[in-house]
């Protein structure tokens, strides 16, 4: 070609579009980062694993007699999740992201990996639940069980275009040692996740039935702020927190430069209660699981199902954009 540019024998390179490397050399998907940081909507939690799956299926109208063994149970839950994800009302207009269980990530929807389908076809940012459940209660708190093979799991998540992860611990009492243990472990594992190029959702849930919920929340905020203060300026995490007793209590976290987004779990509140509390906490968006699927049933026609899901998404979205 005659364009004035000199021919070369240098390499022909194909850069990865829509990504940049941050100061630590971590690959960041620009569009997903921007969507999570500034988009309006909420995070759909679709990450029930073995323990909570029968309960989720039961609420959906699929009794335990309808399947035999874990394999069939996971087939049924994948059918439910696929039905939700492929519904016309489930899309990136009102949903920022979706948290997947590992087995869901490894399965397909319409011939495409679930995570790839979420982002490519729905504009919904995929996250992956990585914890392996809770250890026994000590000092009024349950830290996470060890997560063996986490690096291997994170590598697979990267291969599927997953943006971030989620892991849950539980705080039951306002006990400083228990709260510190939970938060310390969350940020330690979070650091490993950041090193793998993914954004961790740190989820130290405070039990909504705790008799010391408000005290626990004071301790929790202080512990989180201490950990955030130790992060480098380009290290971003997300926080998934129980809706607090005092409205606006987590505003300091919402505005923290190392926090990409604060999301709230519904934690056993009904959808109406959770939405009402959420709407009073500005800047916090929802990450609801049970509240999202409330009212959905395997027995509904497609039209009934889509209408019920649309109403559910609409109400959670409305509460998230205050």
């Amino acid at each position: 070609m005659s364009d004035g540019a000199s021919p070369t024998v240098g390499p022909g390179i194909l850069p990865r579009d829509g990504h940049h490397l941050d100061e630590t050399g971590t690959l960041v998907n620009d569009a997903q980062f921007e969507k999570v940081k500034t988009g309006s909507g909420f995070i759909a939690a679709l990450d029930q694993s073995g323990g909570s799956t029968p309960k989720a299926l039961g609420l959906y109208g699929v009794e335990e007699t309808a399947y035999s063994g874990d394999a069939e149970m996971f087939d049924r839950i994948h059918e439910m999740r696929s039905r939700i994800i492929t519904s016309p009302s489930f899309n990136g207009d009102r949903i920022l992201g979706a948290i997947l269980f590992e087995m869901t990530m490894e399965r397909s929807i319409d011939g495409k990996g679930t995570a790839e389908f979420l982002w490519d076809d729905k504009g919904v940012v995929p996250f992956l639940k990585v914890d392996k459940g809770l250890a026994d209660e000590v000092d009024g708190a349950q830290v996470m069980k060890p997560i063996p093979d986490l690096d291997e799991l994170l590598a697979r998540a990267n291969g599927h275009g997953v943006f971030g992860t989620k892991m849950r611990s539980v705080i039951k009492l306002g006990h400083a040692d228990g709260v510190d243990a939970v938060v310390g472990q969350q940020f330690e594992v979070g650091s490993q996740i950041l090193d793998a190029g993914l954004v961790p959702i740190i989820e130290p849930e405070v039990d909504i039935h705790s008799p010391q919920k408000a005290e626990a929340e004071v301790l929790l905020k202080a512990a989180i702020l201490a950990e955030l203060g130790a992060l480098g300026s380009d290290r971003h995490v997300m926080l998934k927190l129980t809706l607090p007793e005092t409205d606006g209590f987590y505003t300091e976290l919402v505005e923290h430069p190392n926090v990409l987004r604060v999301v709230a779990l519904s934690g056993g509140y009904t959808r109406d209660d959770a939405n009402a509390r959420l709407a009073r906490n500005h800047g916090v968006v929802a990450s609801f699981s049970r509240a999202l699927t409330e009212g959905l049933s395997a027995q509904q026609s497609e039209a009934e199902f889509d209408a019920a899901l649309d109403a559910s998404i609409g109400s959670i979205y409305a509460a998230s954009v205050t």
């Binding site: 070609m1 540019a5 021919p7 240098g10 390499p11 390179i13 194909l14």
Partner: protein, 257 residues
């Protein structure tokens, strides 16, 4: 005796031929495969087998090369040269497969005389008289889902065709002076429009980095979203069709790509 391991592997691969299970892989995972005529399928199998048998396949970072990787990558590379001489990839010595996005460092041309040594995330790379680097997760995704105008295998192997005359100038070896003159006129005109941001929708902005990248991106779109390229840049489509001796838009007509 008197036969190296590599020569034995090459001989055994040729003797085994293009296996039925490889055809099943193409059926399941290569969207373009189902658009080919029977004659084209047979030629593609022969060209892909030659790439699998003759080239050195290497995996990065402890990754393992599988038949699936070789077949899916080789078949996409072979698609480009269905109408070209069998030895069109004589400059390809080895194919290096990474599991996912690679970060490269070191100085490289940014076009317009600019050089950068910032780390860059890449999906592929082709070096003159050097290896072709391919990122597997992207190669597989693009094989499964054609029609978006993105394909790392098409891109890097187009560079290898461009390099056959010893330069990366966006002009591969052409048949005669008339074809060369038309090529230069048409490609220069479209390239200059891309450089100033007026290249339309089908050719992404990376095509404006330099003429070599223009040819590689245009090749991606020519094979992966041919109807769109023909609709927007008819003359460019025609010169690419003359060079590759293929008409992928006609092949894709039933799908409207």
């Amino acid at each position: 005796m008197f036969e190296t391991k590599r020569h034995r592997m090459r001989r055994e691969r040729y003797e085994a031929g293009f296996r039925p299970e490889w055809r099943d892989l193409l059926d399941a995972k290569l969207g373009h495969w189902n658009l080919l005529s029977v004659d084209e399928e047979e030629r593609l199998e022969a060209l892909a087998l030659a790439l699998i048998a003759d080239k050195i396949w290497e995996a990065a970072h402890g990754f393992e090369i599988t038949d699936e990787m070789m077949v899916i990558i080789a078949a996409q590379a072979a698609l480009l040269i269905l109408g070209l001489p069998d030895d069109s990839y004589r400059d390809v010595g080895s194919i290096l497969v990474h599991p996912t996005t690679v970060v490269v460092t070191g100085p490289r041309s940014q076009g317009g005389g600019l050089v950068s040594d910032d780390p860059m995330a890449i999906l592929g790379q082709a070096s003159f008289q050097g290896p072709v680097v391919i990122v597997w997760d992207t190669a597989l995704d693009e094989a499964r889902h054609p029609g978006r105008g993105h394909n790392v295998v098409f891109h890097e192997f187009a560079h290898k065709l461009d390099m056959l005359d010893g330069t990366v100038d966006g002009t591969p070896p052409l048949a005669d002076q008339a074809q060369f003159d038309r090529w230069v006129r048409v490609c220069t005109e479209v390239y200059e429009r891309v450089v100033v941001g007026e290249g339309g929708h089908t050719l992404r902005s990376y095509a404006g980095v330099n003429p070599g990248e223009f040819f590689a991106v245009a090749t991606e779109v020519f094979f992966d979203a041919p109807a769109a390229l023909r609709g927007e840049h008819l003359e460019l489509y025609d010169v690419l069709s003359d060079f590759y001796r293929q008409d992928p838009a006609r092949r894709a007509e039933p799908l409207g790509r």
